[in-house]
Amino acid sequence: MALAKAQPELRIAGTKLPAIPLPTNCPGCGVGLDADALRKHNYVCECGHHFRLGADAWIALIADRSSWKERWGDIRSHDLLNWKVPKPYQAVVDQLIEEGLNEAVRTGTCTLAGRPIWLAVFDFRFVGGTLSIVAGERLARGMEQAAASGIPYVLITASGGARMQEGVLALMQMAKVNAAVGRMHSAGVPFFSVLTDPTFGGTAASLALLADINIAEPNAAIGFTGPRVIKQATYADLPAGFQSAEFQLAHGQVDLVLPRTELRHLLAHLLELYP
């Protein structure tokens, strides 16, 4: 909490976080949960367990109050491959939209501690936060605009990888977004990535780990191939903590592992250091 103490003015939070569905007991420590207290603590239990947040909660956490301007929120995923089993893809998408979700990636502009940023947030609740054509399009458009305007780009990931139901076109989104990341790097635009639980597959192997600074949430699972598939393919016993944020830190893949309660202060400080 050194940063928070050093810069008390940055305690001004974003918007109050929305209520999220919670279990009665913390999966980390087993203690009964106080929803209000947890909400004020950015959904981090005292034991250090970080609850998964949807895109709406992340936007509320990062963006200064009333500063969020969503972009391209009206483009929608469609069933292009006539995907029918086990569930028709179009029905899955329609159902999620009806529940109030808007794709696996939402993007827009806002300010953080008064400084303008581009913000893109994955939402794991939407088909596992999978990279789709619409997700790729929102990411690439935002990064192109960040590259043109010089405004820093902040990314929050939570994704199972590329979306199976969009086939090879979902795979191609990895190239599409990486090309745009390259444009930001060439333009000298700061790019900060926050990897949350879980970040895997085509998302980990595209933009998530390509930032100037990769930040991971404590104990977040981050990797390319999921542990279930690794065990199936190699019959290997995976050690405890394999593919955790701390594992990725030890293997040189992320710059720092930081609790969510300190994230906003760190990002605000980074925006000062990389003007």
Partner: protein
């Protein structure tokens, strides 16, 4: 560009039969093609960091009178060879070697030919420990900056991110009986059903044949294979691949570098534009 090439009567094979052809152990592998395209090929090794990945071969040779950099996934035929080549599944070192050789080619202005034939990147603990996700991500990003023409061909299996890590090029073509997919049918079944035995159902939905990709606008051309597929006649398959690759390379050689890189960017930036333009797109299963 020849797009919209799908004609239902062109192939009488089922999707699963195509996959079996694409994976057939008798099918020509990268070195079978490279040695026919450039008989003076010299293989170069290593990523200059820590290792050499035998699942990816790379090197230089003369092709149509010009020194060319060849890269390709390499599978093995005997069990010993398959183990040594790791079934064509690259580790992080392979992607770093590919980019090292791409910069080498750029220094001398050599065009690059990339042959894709992999079930995917290696799904093992060692690959994870050494940063396979970041290695693929860096490679994909770096290909957009390599200032020489790149032509790629899927010659067998184009599996997932492991294939795309070698598949960012100015032109991408496919041999007729090859596949290119977001995930192997087994992996897709495992993800969607949590049951990898439903691979045939998954394969039928993924639309991973060469004609599917041509119809989606993801590849520029499907190269016909000899009667009985590529494994029936290596020389004829190599000649057809040679002709198609060189036809695609020629106009690229004349392009100013800035145009080349801008077009490569746009090729992938708008790769889904064909399906955007046609909301009713989608061959019906």
């Amino acid at each position: 560009m020849t797009r919209h090439g799908r004609k239902p009567d062109e192939s009488t094979l089922t999707v699963w039969q195509v996959i079996e052809l694409a994976r057939h152990p008798g099918r020509p592998y990268s070195l079978d093609y490279i040695r026919r395209l450039a008989p003076d090929f010299i293989e170069l090794h290593g990523d200059r960091l820590s290792a050499d990945d035998p699942a990816l071969v790379g090197g230089v040779g003369t092709w149509h009178g010009r020194t060319t950099m060849f890269l390709g996934h390499q599978k093995g035929r005997s069990l010993k060879e398959r183990v040594a080549r790791n079934w064509g599944m690259m580790h992080p070192e392979g992607y770093r070697k590919a980019i090292r050789l791409a910069h080498h080619a750029a220094k001398f202005g050599f065009p690059i030919v990339s042959l894709i034939d992999t079930p995917g990147a290696y799904p093992g603990a060692g690959a994870e420990e050494r940063g396979i996700a970041a290695a693929i991500a860096e490679a994909i990003m770096e290909w957009f900056r390599i200032p020489v023409p790149i032509v790629a061909a899927v010659i067998g299996e184009g599996g997932s991110g492991g294939a795309l890590g070698m598949g960012v090029a100015d032109r991408v073509i496919m041999l007729e009986n090859s596949i290119y997919s977001v995930a192997s049918p087994e992996a897709a079944a495992s993800i969607v059903w949590r049951d990898n035995t439903r691979k045939v159902e998954a394969a039928e939905q993924l639309q991973l044949t060469s004609r599917d990709l041509l119809a989606m606008g993801v590849v520029e051309e499907v190269v016909p294979e000899p009667a009985g597929s590529a494994r029936a006649d290596y020389d004829a398959a190599a000649a057809a691949l040679d002709e198609a690759l060189y036809r695609h390379l020629q106009p690229l050689l004349a392009q100013p570098t800035a145009d080349l890189l801008q077009h490569r960017y746009e090729r992938f930036r708008y790769i889904d534009s064909l399906v955007h333009a046609e909301p009713q797109f989608g061959p019906k299963i």
